[in-house]
Symmetry: C2
Subunit: 246 residues, 2 copies
């Protein structure tokens, strides 16, 4: 019934245009009553995006099932992948809807509100994970927005390929950019690169510990940041500590 | 006339609530006709955000007036500051509106569409600046979203202080986080911090030049990235070169 309503709606949207199609037209074509329509969809907009409520629920459940050992940025990237997967499951429908949404301002507004809800779900999870940390809510909000923007950039490029590009590879590439920007370990099969230890500039220009204690793997990457005019002996001392050579 | 309409509208919104106030009520209190209202504001929502169109126009003009030597990320941060400045110019009005917007879903939807237009303006400028570069549109979209999220985080925290916090310092702090994430030089008045020189990991695990030749100022920051198992003498050698001590 629900699928039949969506199919009837899209047939009419494509034939006559979105604005020219009424709920009465849709139920007549699907052979059901108006009440059946409104049982599934609160409004005509909702039939255009029939899977977002379910996907939002899946995302919320996915994030709620997170463990403390999940790296938070990687976790929200995985949550965002659920959305792309929903689109990629039905390329023809997704591409048709993309064209429709571009033409109808009301649908774009609806889509903005959906995107906002995804972004809030990611931000809430990150705020929780970053609670008590310095700039926790700032970091949460910025990272959530960056993940959503990267996801949407990948999604649009996949939609513009008429659903023919590799959706998974496209979104992986886009999300990797965000992971790199926010200092998350890369997850490529090659492994071995991990920013786990480092130093930062203190007020007197000397280097100081940035990422906490020494990491455990000999092939970790050590990052040192120092003012150029810091005494060289202090820089070397910091490096020796970071490299675990003292 | 325009200001009188805004003042009358807010007086009524606060007294009766937004939904309970009609355009007729507003024009009656302001002592003008309906046509005058609609000459200034296309809808009741628009009177709640009377300055956004002007601010969007200012932002577009500001970005259009950019020179090639403007660092793109810093430039969009400066563009975002225009929005905060608009709010900060009238703290009482901004705080009242913030409370109103939180209560009325229709206004939140309107605000989302406004935020989206700011974000697109920033992204368009960045896409232009990054044209031809690898992942240019991806970087543009992600950085624009991050700047807007940081700005909005700062704006909300200023609004929650009832407009008493230092708006400029709050937004500077938030935008600095984005600048740091996307590798832009910091611009604080203290100066002297600039990521200009560094080393990276080569395939054999030894450090190698990352940011190009040595920077020119003695108080530059030097960044060194190295695998932990790199020979220490090679790390020190690289640092000496980067620090210009060889």
């Amino acid at each position: 019934m629900r699928d039949a309503l969506v199919a009837a709606a899209f047939q009419l949207f494509l034939e006559r245009g979105y604005e020219q199609t009424t709920v009465d037209d849709i139920v007549a074509l699907a052979g059901v009553g108006r009440r059946s329509f409104f049982r599934y969809f609160p409004s005509k907009e909702d039939v255009v995006f029939p899977d977002h409520e379910g996907c939002l629920a899946d995302m919320t459940a996915f994030l709620a099932a997170s463990a403390p050992e999940h790296e938070p940025v990687l976790r929200v990237c995985d949550a965002a992948r659920l959305v792309l997967r929903m689109y990629a499951e039905n390329p023809t429908f997704s591409v048709q809807r993309y064209r429709l949404t571009k033409q109808v301002p009301g649908l774009r507004a609806y889509e903005l509100s959906v995107v906002w809800r995804y972004e809030r779900a990611l931000a809430e999870y990150l705020r929780d994970r970053f609670a008590g940390r310095r700039d926790g809510t700032l970091r949460a909000d910025v990272i959530a927005a960056a993940v959503v923007a990267a996801h949407n950039n990948a999604l649009r490029s996949w939609l513009r390929s008429d659903g023919r590009a590799d959706a998974g590879a496209t979104v992986d590439h886009a999300l990797r950019y965000v992971q790199d920007a926010f200092g998350t370990p890369a997850t490529d099969a090659g492994g071995g690169v991990e920013v786990g230890v480092g130093t930062e500039v203190t007020s007197d220009g000397a280097p100081a510990a940035l990422f906490g204690g020494p990491a455990e793997h000999p092939d970790d990457v050590v990052v040192l940041v120092s003012r150029r005019d810091a005494p060289l002996w202090r820089v070397v001392q910091e490096i020796e500590t970071a490299f675990g050579r003292t």
